[in-house]
């Protein structure tokens, strides 16, 4: 047993005092500081081109040079246009087709399993405006990618087609995805299979790739902020506003916002936004809107009862019409909302306000949504 003599007490006291003082001693350099520095010179804007490669034969086509950052390499099929890689897409290709059709191919990976096979297939089907299928209806075939066993999915929509190979490897899932016009994809499929055969994982590729935050073609790990390629490029949908709709400043994350006035000058609000992916799906969004109106959530089995299918120029959409009490204002309110999955994105159209004004505007609103032409 240690006897707490005077010396031990002194030692203990010194340790306690030191311990209490240490945070201030250690963090003494963590105060507010001021510097005067020369102005930062921004780097000249460079074209994002094929990687430089000293020591390579300059006559070698750029497409044969592996992307420097990629832990995977490939041989680009003839006739494909290799685009600059992005921080997400390790491989990025454009395939020009006959008659103006085109397709794009992306190579990317995500940590983990990225949802179930059913989730993935139904997401790809959703992109093609196809209804979801059950797990026993999924069709795929085995495909070898760098001698590793992957699966190949081929899904055709009305005008578009998607061919995807997926490969779980070292705790990550790799996707090789071609999507575009039906004819172009059909024509390019043999070359796509050639691309798969040429895939080679480099030594660095054996490690799980870093977790990309977002991707245009995948559900974002953060649920809803993935890329929106067409819209990001500045191509916006075209629409004709109903009479008595006037644009107003859009709020956070809102693409466009309008005031819709009825004959008595009473105003409802129309907000339009779009987000990549399915943004949680119909079920989650329906219950989100119900929460906003103080309504109890519905179960999956009740979803059909509270939603209506709606045919739009952009594809099959889902309409809801709820009346309740605005959870923010405590006033009676009505909300008509339409979710339009289109391409990689889901568009949200929301008409909300007093019940009578929303009722007056609903027909115009629905027609408006149905006639929006997407890029």
């Amino acid at each position: 047993m240690v006897r707490f003599t005077c010396s031990y007490r002194l030692l203990a006291l010194a340790l306690v005092v030191g311990g209490l003082a240490m945070p201030w001693v250690v963090r003494a350099d963590e105060g507010i500081k001021t510097y005067t520095v020369p102005k930062e010179q921004p780097a000249p804007i460079q074209p994002v081109a094929a990687p430089q490669s000293m020591g390579m034969d300059s006559a070698m086509p750029a497409s044969d040079i592996p992307v420097s950052s990629a832990p995977v390499s490939w041989t680009t099929p003839a006739g494909w246009q290799e685009l600059a890689p992005t921080s997400i897409r390790l491989g990025n290709f454009l395939i020009p087709g006959k008659g103006g059709g085109k397709a794009e191919v992306a190579i990317f990976s995500f940590p983990g399993s990225v949802g179930t096979e059913l989730d993935n297939v139904n997401r790809w089907r959703n992109e093609l405006q196809l209804p979801p299928v059950d797990a026993d209806k999924i069709t795929s075939e085995p495909v070898a990618i760098d001698s590793l066993p992957g699966r190949l999915y081929d899904i055709s929509g009305a005008s578009s087609r998607t061919v995807v190979a997926s490969l779980p490897k070292d705790g990550a899932t790799w996707f090789f995805k071609m999507r575009g016009a039906r004819d172009t994809v059909a024509e390019a499929k043999p070359a796509f299979l050639d691309l798969l055969r040429s895939i080679h994982f480099n030594a660095a590729g054996s490690a799980a790739p870093p977790a990309p935050a977002f991707d245009a073609t995948m559900p974002s790990p953060h649920a809803n902020m993935a890329a929106a390629p067409a819209e990001a490029a500045g191509e916006e949908p075209k629409w004709t506003l109903p009479p008595n709709w006037t644009e107003k400043p859009a709020g956070a994350m809102i693409f466009k916002s309008y005031s819709a006035a009825n004959g008595q000058g009473r105003i409802a609000s129309v907000n339009i936004s779009f987000f990549p992916g399915d943004v949680g799906g119909v079920f989650a969004n329906v219950n989100r809107w119900r929460r906003q109106l103080g309504l109890p959530p519905v179960g999956q089995d009740q979803l059909a009862a509270v939603t209506q299918p709606l045919a739009t120029a952009g594809g099959r959409a889902t309409l809801v019409d709820f009346a309740g009490t605005d959870s923010k204002t405590g006033q009676a309110a009505r909300l008509v909302a339409v979710m339009v999955p289109h391409g990689d994105n889901t568009w949200f159209y929301k008409l909300s306000g007093e019940g009578s004004v929303v009722g007056d505007q609903k027909e115009s609103f629905v027609k408006f949504v149905q006639t929006v032409r997407y890029p």
């Binding site: 240690v2 250690v26 963590e30 500081k33 460079q46 000293m54 420097s68 693409f255």
Partner: protein, 430 residues
Amino acid sequence: MMHRFVSIVTSLRLTVVCLVAALILVFVGTLAQVDLGLYAVQAKFFRSFFVYWTPGGGRWSIPVFPGGWLIGLVLLANLLAAHVKRFRFTPRKYGILLVHSGLIFLLIGQFMTEIFQVESTMRIEVGGTKNYSEAPRRAELALVDVTDPDKDKVVVVPESVLAKGGEIRAPELPFALRVKRYLPNSTPAGPMTGEGEKIRATKGIGRQLLFSPAPITTDMDSEDNPAALIQVVSDKGPLGDWTVSTWMTRYPEFERLQNSLGSILGNTPLTQPQSFTFGGRTWQIALRPLRYYKPYAMTLLAFHHDLYPGTDIPKNYSSNVHLHDPATGEDRDVKIFMNSPLRYRGETYYQASFEPGDRGTILQVVRNPASVTPYVACSLVALGLVVQFLMHLSGFARKRAQSLEAAPPQRTSLEPVLAPARANGKRSSI
């Protein structure tokens, strides 16, 4: 009392207490990695003098257990004191003394490295110039007065101050900063990420780009991206609320976010600093990775990524940089490549990584004032071993010579070797 103190410091009991404390620390620290992740545990349990506990999210921290540094220091003091007290110096122990000195020097050097080493990265795009490196996993709020055409005045507030919230005043700032929200880790928010409260600004990009809280990262390969809602307050009242986050300043997050958001932000570059004007001067506000400014600048002339001919196997990564130091007149080109770092002004620049498409290079910058200690320590240990060996060898040779002089030639070839041992009544050893 002094005698008693010395006996405590040199006691074996203290050694055992330290070893047991280290055992407990390692055990608890290992378990804590589940919730805190490796880096937070290293900082809290091992790279610290004390393990602190903050009761109920308060402002006071109480030391509850010795940290790794304290245990190591006490153990070192204990061993040194015990050595001094019990070790009897004789010339025959020169070698052992040197070996022990080397080991102690190694321990001290490692301790100095732990405390004083600073690691950061310098990311330069081809053609770009940098005069600072950035710390991983640490952030700072920067207010930059960009009014002057030649120089910027930078006022930085460390993340630890932001985390405390409240109002921040600095003599160099003509306004106050009010931390309305601080998120240690955040995620860009949309309509479906409404689980946590989002932060929304009244000025700048934060009017459109929202952030919601995210769990602290425990993954070794990920970093937290803090966000904060900062209100700038003048004497006449608030100027506005700005959202700041490393999502907008840390590579490659800002690139991913920029790619992702597209027209939602009206194609405003995320990297375009948010700014405001006050008192006729223009200020920029940003939460950015903590910067270490240098008195010199480096320009990336070219980045090369070589492959073995005919293969995809990387052969070499190299950066051609131009070093310009107005203070010393240094103005030269340097090639930094694998295993050939640049050492300049106490810092070492290693080729660490590069940007996709070979658009730029990422250099790891290490400042370690104790970097020479391992070399000195190893030299001392080697010298001690040699000295000890030579002393034994000379003693052996001397005894052998004596035995050869004293005795006639022996019958067996082993006899000359065994004879000195017999003479000592024990085995000869080195």
